[in-house]
C-alpha cells in the first residue's frame, strides 16, 4: 500500500490559489496586487469544480492559477511596488513631522518602475501589439478629452493628448483611414495598418463625465500600460514610415488650439512633410541645390520604372503626378510605396479568381483613388461643426482644412480664400426675412460665396464610407439629411442593401453599384451554395453582354457560355428568353444541368433527414424565403420610385 495522501496535495487544488493567498505570498497590498495583475495581464480564473478547489467549500472567491502567481514573483515591478510602499510610509512620516526638507528630498528619490519589458513580454512581435492596440487607442482618446481634476493628473491628460495626436498624424500621413461611423455613443474610426484592421472609438467633445461607479484606480493602471504600449507602437510606426519620432510640438500653435497643426511631422531626411503636402498648390519646394539634384534623380528613376508603374500612374490625374514629384524626396509614405502592399487585401477578398497583374494594378489604383478622395478639395469648417473629427477625416483623405478663429488659431487660410470648394456648416440657413435690410446689421457677418458648396458634416463621413464623393443633394445646408449608415454592417445573403443617396451619378455607375451588390452577396454566401451562385453570376454576365447589341460582345458571350458548359441550343434559348423579357432581369431563369442536379441532391438529402432535422431545415428555409421576399419587395418599391422620379425629371426637362 502506498503512502497515504493528505487532502489538498494533489489535483485541482494545487493548480489554483485564492486571491488572499496570492497576496500573502507576494507580500503586497491588495491594490498593488490588482495593479500588478493588470500590468502583467494575469486575470482571475474560474475553477471547473469549486468544491474540489475550495477544499469542500463553495464560497464565492476569486481564484488565480498558482503558476501565474509564481511567475509574478520574478517581476521587477513587484520589488518596485514594495519600495513604493516604504517610500509612501517615509514620506507621510516626514510630512507629519513637518520635516519638509526631508520630504522634498524623499520626493526626488521616489522609486518608479518602467513597463517596457512587460510590453515586450506581452507582445513579442509588433503585429501582436498592433492587434491589441484597439483598446489602448480607445482608452487614450477617451482620456485625452477629459478635464483634469483630482482623479486624473494633468500629466496623464497631456500624454494622452500627445499620443492620440501622434497616432492621428500617422494615420493621415500614411492615408490608412478606411471607415468612419457617427453613432450616438461616439465616433468610430477604422484604419488599416500593416494589414491589420484597427478600430477605435472617440467620444464627442465635452460629453464625458467620470461616473462614480467606475473604479478609477483600475482604469488608471490600464491607462499606464496603454500609454507605454502606444508610445512604442507610435515610435515603430513613425520609424517604419521614415518619420521623426517624437514629432516636434509648436508650443505657440498648441496653445492657440491649432489642433493637429501643432505637430511638426518631419521625415528622417529633415523635411517638413506636412507643410510640403500643404504647399502642393503651385508653390514649389524651395530646396537647396543638392535637394534639386535628388529630385531630378528620383524623377529619372520614376520614369524608368516601366509599364507597370506607368499604368498605375496614368490612372491618376496630373495633380497626383505633380505631387509624386514633390514628395519623391520627402516621403516614401506618400503614395507609391505604401500602396502596393495594402492593395493586396481588397484584391484577395474580391473574388476567388486567379490574381493577375492587371487586377493588382486595378485594385491599387482604386485604393489610391480612395486614399486621395478629397484631393483638390478645400474645406472651410464653420464654427459649429466638430473640427477635432472633421479635420482628421478630411486630411486623412488628402483634403485641406481651414477654420475660423473662434474655433482655433493658425488656420491655413481664411474664409474669403478663393480656393475653398466646400464649406461645412451645420446651422439652419438664414431665412429670407432675416436677410431683409432691417436685419442686415445682425446677419451681416454671414456672407455666402457663390462658388462653394455649403454642406452638412455628414457628407464628409458618407463620402468616406461610400468610397467616393457622393452627390451633394440632400446634404446642402438646411436640407433633410439621408440616413447615416453604419459601414461596419456586412450584408448577409439575400438582404437588401440600401444605396447611399447620391451614389448613382450616372446610369453606368448605377449598374456598377448593382454589380458590387452581387459581389457582396457572393462573398457572404454559404459554401454549399457557392457553386450555384457562381453559375448565376455567369449567367448574369452573359445577360449583361447580350444586352449590348454589339456583335463582338455577342461572340464573347457565346464563348463564355461554352466555357461554362452550356450547349449552343441552351444558349440560344436563353438568348430568346432574354430578348423577350428585355430590361427585366429574369429571377427564375431556366436552371442548368448542374443546378438541377444540385437541387435534386438537396431534395434527396431532405428526404433522408429525420423528422426533427427536417422540421428545423424547413424552418430555416422559411425564414430565408421570408427575408428574400421582404428584400424583393423593397427592391421593387425602389425601382418603381426611380421610374416615377425619372419620369418627373424627363417631364421637367420637356417643360
Amino acid at each position: 500500500m502506498g503512502k497515504k495522501l493528505k487532502k489538498g496535495e494533489k489535483g485541482a487544488v494545487t493548480n489554483y490559489i485564492t486571491r488572499t493567498q496570492a497576496i500573502k505570498k507576494l507580500q503586497i497590498s491588495l491594490a498593488a496586487f490588482r495593479r500588478l495583475c493588470i500590468l502583467k495581464g494575469i486575470y482571475p480564473r474560474e475553477p471547473k469544480n469549486k468544491k474540489k478547489v475550495g477544499k469542500g467549500s463553495t464560497k464565492p472567491q476569486t481564484y488565480y492559477y498558482r503558476k501565474d502567481i509564481q511567475f509574478l514573483l520574478h517581476e521587477p515591478v513587484l520589488q518596485k511596488l514594495r519600495e513604493q510602499k516604504v517610500f509612501a510610509r517615509r514620506l507621510t512620516r516626514a510630512i507629519s513631522k513637518k520635516e519638509y526638507a526631508l520630504a522634498k528630498n524623499l520626493e526626488e528619490m521616489k522609486p518608479e518602475y518602467t513597463l517596457d519589458h512587460i510590453i515586450k513580454e506581452r507582445y513579442p512581435s509588433f503585429i501582436d501589439a498592433l492587434r491589441d492596440v484597439d483598446d489602448a487607442l480607445s482608452m487614450v482618446f477617451l482620456f485625452a478629452t477629459l478635464p483634469t481634476d483630482d482623479k486624473i493628473a494633468n500629466e496623464h491628460v497631456r500624454t494622452c493628448q500627445r499620443l492620440s495626436a501622434e497616432f492621428q498624424h500617422y494615420v493621415l500621413t500614411s492615408r490608412s483611414l478606411r471607415k468612419t461611423f457617427l453613432s450616438i455613443k461616439g465616433i468610430y474610426y477604422q484604419a488599416e495598418i500593416m494589414g491589420q484592421e484597427i478600430t477605435w472609438i472617440v467620444p464627442y467633445q465635452f460629453s464625458q463625465n467620470v461616473p462614480t461607479n467606475v473604479d478609477f484606480r483600475v482604469m488608471a493602471t490600464f491607462l499606464e500600460l496603454y500609454e507605454t504600449l502606444l508610445g512604442f507602437v507610435n515610435f515603430k510606426l513613425y520609424s517604419d514610415a521614415n518619420l521623426v519620432y517624437p514629432p516636434k510640438v509648436d508650443q505657440q500653435r498648441d496653445e492657440g488650439a491649432a489642433g493637429l497643426g501643432a505637430y511638426v511631422i518631419e521625415s528622417t531626411q529633415g523635411q517638413d512633410l506636412l507643410s510640403d503636402l500643404a504647399r502642393k498648390e503651385g508653390v514649389s519646394v524651395a530646396g537647396t541645390k543638392a535637394d534639386k539634384k535628388k529630385v531630378k534623380q528620383s524623377e529619372k528613376r520614376l520614369k524608368s520604372l516601366g509599364e507597370k508603374i506607368s499604368a498605375i500612374a496614368s490612372a491618376e490625374n496630373d495633380d497626383n503626378e505633380e505631387d509624386l514629384d514633390d514628395a519623391a524626396t520627402a516621403a516614401p509614405s506618400d503614395d507609391t510605396e505604401t500602396d502596393l502592399p495594402q492593395s493586396l487585401a481588397p484584391a484577395t477578398t474580391d473574388e476567388e479568381s486567379v490574381p493577375t497583374l492587371q487586377t493588382f494594378a486595378q485594385a491599387s489604383t482604386t485604393l489610391t483613388q480612395f486614399q486621395n478622395l478629397f484631393r483638390g478639395c478645400v474645406f472651410y469648417l464653420s464654427r459649429e461643426v466638430p473640427r477635432y473629427s472633421l479635420e482628421f477625416v478630411i486630411r486623412a483623405f488628402g483634403g485641406e482644412v481651414g477654420w475660423p478663429s473662434t474655433s482655433g488659431a493658425f488656420s491655413p487660410f481664411s474664409e474669403d480664400d478663393p480656393r475653398i470648394t466646400h464649406q461645412i456648416v451645420d446651422r439652419p440657413p438664414v431665412s429670407v426675412d432675416a436677410q431683409a435690410p432691417n436685419a442686415k446689421g445682425v446677419q451681416g457677418e454671414v456672407k455666402r460665396y457663390d462658388k462653394r458648396e455649403y454642406l452638412q458634416p455628414q457628407w464628409v463621413y458618407d463620402c468616406v464610407n461610400a468610397r467616393r464623393l457622393v452627390k451633394s443633394e440632400g446634404y446642402r445646408q438646411g436640407e433633410t439629411l439621408p440616413p447615416h449608415l453604419s459601414p461596419f454592417v456586412v450584408a448577409r445573403e439575400g438582404e437588401y442593401v440600401p444605396e447611399v443617396v447620391g451614389m448613382e451619378v450616372d446610369e453606368v455607375e448605377e449598374n456598377d453599384a448593382e454589380g458590387e451588390e452581387d459581389e457582396v452577396e457572393i462573398a457572404v454566401a454559404d459554401e454549399e451554395e457557392e457553386e450555384e451562385e457562381e453559375e448565376e453570376k455567369d449567367e448574369e454576365e452573359e445577360e449583361a453582354s447580350i444586352d449590348s447589341s454589339d456583335e463582338e460582345a455577342l461572340h464573347q458571350a457565346e464563348l463564355q457560355a461554352e466555357a461554362a458548359g452550356l450547349t449552343f441550343s441552351e444558349f440560344q434559348q436563353q438568348k430568346k428568353k432574354q430578348q423577350k423579357s428585355n430590361s427585366k432581369k429574369a429571377p427564375v431563369a431556366k436552371e442548368s444541368a448542374a443546378e438541377k442536379q444540385a437541387r435534386e441532391e438537396r431534395e434527396l438529402a431532405k428526404m433522408m433527414m429525420n423528422k426533427k432535422d427536417k422540421h428545423l431545415y424547413n424552418k430555416i428555409q422559411f425564414g430565408k424565403k421570408r427575408k428574400e421576399e421582404a428584400a424583393d419587395k423593397l427592391r421593387q418599391k425602389k425601382a418603381a420610385l426611380k421610374q416615377s422620379s425619372g419620369g418627373v425629371k424627363k417631364g421637367r426637362r420637356g417643360a
Binding site: 474560474e46 476569486t62 520574478h74 455613443k185 502606444l230 446651422r427 449608415l485
Partner: protein, 445 residues
C-alpha cells in the same frame, strides 16, 4: 712551501724518472719558479710579506663603504614590503573616513602654500557653502539636478523612446571586464490555457440603429433589441416576485381542513361506518373489485411432479446448448469477416471522434463569446445605448450623445474577463452610533 708542492705532486700521476735525462725531463719545477717569481715581485714592491709585522700589513676601517651606505639608505623596509598592496586595485573601504577624504589630491593649481589652521578652516567653510548653494560644476545641487534629469530621461525613454521590437540583446555585459558576457536567463511565462472570452472584440461596434441619423428599419431593429433585453429582465423579475410572494390559495383554504387532526377524521369515519352497520361486507367487496386491496390474490396450484421438473430441466439444458451453438456459429462467421468488421469499427470510431471534435470546437467557440463569472459577482452589462424616435437629432449639431464611454470601457474590460467584476462598497461606520441625551437643557437659566 714544501707541503703545498708535495700535495700537488701527489695529486698528479707521477711519470717515470729513471735516468738523468728522464729525471730532468719529467720533474715539474713550474711551481718552484712561480714561488720564486712571486718572491721577487714582493721584493720589488717593498719587501717580503712574510717578514713584515701585522701592523705593517693591516689597518682598522673606521669610515666604511660610501656606495654601500647609499644603497642601504634607499632600500625599503621588509615590513613595508609586506604591507604594500599586492593588487593594482584599491581595497574595499566601508565608508569614507577623515583620513581617506584628506588624501584627495589638491585641486588648486600652483604653489601649495601653508596656512594656519584657522584660515584653512575658514576657506573650507566658504567652499562648502558655495558648493551647497549650487555654484560651480561639482556642487551637490548640480550633481543632484543631473541625477534627476538622467532619471527623468530614462523614464521617458521607457515610455516609447526606442524601437522595442528591434532590440535583440539577452546578454548582459559585465562592467569589470574580467568575466565574459553572460546570457541572462529569462523567466519563462507559464503556458496556461486561455479561458477568457477571446472572441469578444475590444471595441465592439454598436448596432447600426444607433447611428446618429439611422434608417427607420435599423432604428426599429435596435429598439427591438433594447426592448427584448428589458422584457427578459422584467420577466425574470416577475418570476422571482411570484416565487417569493405569499400564494393567495392559502387564504382560501379552511382552517378546519388545514389544522384538524387526521386521527379524528378517521374516528369519525369509523363512527359513520358503525352507524351503517350492515353495509360492512359490501364495502369490503367493493374494495376488492376496485383492486385497491393490498392482499395478493391466492392462486391455487398443484405441486409439480418429479417428472415435470426433470423435463423442465432437460428443456432448459437443451435451450442453453442451442444458444451456445448459435453463439459459436456467429463467432465463427464473424471471424471469417474479421477484416470487414475491423474496417467497420474504425469507421465508426473515426465518425465518433469527428463528432466529438466538432462538438468540442463548437463549445470552444461558444465559450469564446460568453462572459462567465469570475469571482463573487456576476457580470452585469450596461443597458444598450439607444434614443427614442423623438429624441433623435436632425443634425450633428443637435446630437445629444448617449451613454458614457468611460463606463463602456470599464465594462468592456469586465466583459472580456480581464478584470473581475466588482461591486462598489460603501464605507460602513466603524462603530455603532450611540444616542445620548444631553442634560444641558436642565442647566438652562
Amino acid at each position: 712551501m714544501a707541503p703545498s708542492t708535495a700535495t700537488k705532486t701527489k695529486k698528479s700521476a707521477q711519470p717515470s724518472r729513471k735516468g738523468k735525462k728522464a729525471w730532468r725531463k719529467n720533474t715539474d719545477v713550474g711551481d718552484v719558479e712561480e714561488q720564486l717569481d712571486e718572491l721577487r715581485n714582493e721584493v720589488r714592491l717593498g719587501g717580503k710579506i712574510h717578514e713584515k709585522t701585522d701592523d705593517q700589513l693591516f689597518f682598522t676601517d673606521k669610515t666604511g663603504d660610501a656606495e654601500l651606505r647609499k644603497k642601504r639608505q634607499n632600500r625599503p623596509l621588509r615590513i613595508e614590503e609586506i604591507l604594500k598592496p599586492q593588487s593594482a586595485f584599491d581595497g574595499i573601504r566601508s565608508r569614507p573616513t577623515a583620513s581617506s577624504s584628506k588624501s584627495a589630491p589638491p585641486t588648486s593649481i600652483g604653489k601649495v602654500r601653508e596656512v594656519s589652521k584657522t584660515i584653512a578652516n575658514k576657506i573650507e567653510d566658504l567652499a562648502k557653502r558655495k558648493r551647497e548653494e549650487g555654484l560651480g560644476p561639482g556642487s551637490t545641487r548640480a550633481l543632484k539636478r543631473r541625477r534627476l534629469d538622467e532619471k527623468k530621461a530614462e523614464l521617458k525613454k521607457a515610455k516609447g523612446g526606442f524601437d522595442l521590437w528591434d532590440v535583440e540583446d539577452t546578454t548582459q555585459a559585465n562592467d569589470d571586464g574580467y568575466l565574459e558576457p553572460v546570457a541572462v536567463k529569462q523567466v519563462k511565462k507559464p503556458k496556461l490555457p486561455v479561458d477568457r472570452p477571446t472572441a469578444i472584440q475590444a471595441v465592439e461596434i454598436t448596432h447600426a440603429g444607433t447611428s446618429y441619423n439611422p434608417t427607420f428599419e435599423d432604428h426599429q431593429a435596435a429598439l427591438q433589441v433594447a426592448i427584448d433585453v428589458e422584457l427578459a429582465k422584467e420577466k425574470s423579475k416577475a418570476e422571482t416576485a411570484k416565487k417569493m410572494s405569499y400564494p393567495a390559495e392559502l387564504d382560501e383554504l379552511d382552517d378546519e381542513t388545514f389544522f384538524d387532526d387526521s386521527e379524528d377524521e378517521e374516528d369519525d369515519l369509523i363512527a359513520e361506518e358503525d352507524i351503517d352497520g350492515g353495509r360492512e361486507t359490501d364495502g369490503a367487496m367493493s374494495e376488492a373489485e376496485d383492486g385497491r386491496s393490498h392482499v395478493k390474490p391466492v392462486v391455487s396450484e398443484s405441486r409439480k411432479t418429479r417428472a415435470q421438473r426433470n423435463k423442465e430441466a432437460r428443456n432448459d439444458q437443451k435451450r442453453r446448448e442451442e444458444l451456445k451453438a448459435k453463439e459459436e456459429k456467429k463467432l465463427a462467421k464473424q471471424l471469417n469477416r474479421l477484416s470487414e468488421l475491423k474496417k467497420q469499427v474504425t469507421k465508426e470510431e473515426t465518425a465518433r471522434q469527428k463528432k466529438l471534435e466538432e462538438k468540442a470546437k463548437a463549445e470552444a467557440e461558444a465559450a469564446a463569446t460568453l462572459t462567465r463569472r469570475v469571482g463573487p459577482h456576476e457580470f452585469k452589462a450596461a443597458p444598450m445605448e439607444i434614443q427614442l424616435t423623438e429624441e433623435l437629432a436632425d443634425t450633428l449639431r443637435e446630437l445629444k450623445p448617449e451613454g458614457n464611454l468611460f463606463q463602456d470601457r470599464f465594462l468592456s474590460l469586465q466583459k472580456r474577463s480581464l478584470i473581475e467584476t466588482r461591486v462598489p462598497v460603501s464605507k460602513r461606520l466603524k462603530y455603532k452610533r450611540k444616542e445620548m441625551e444631553s442634560h444641558d437643557y436642565k442647566r438652562f437659566k
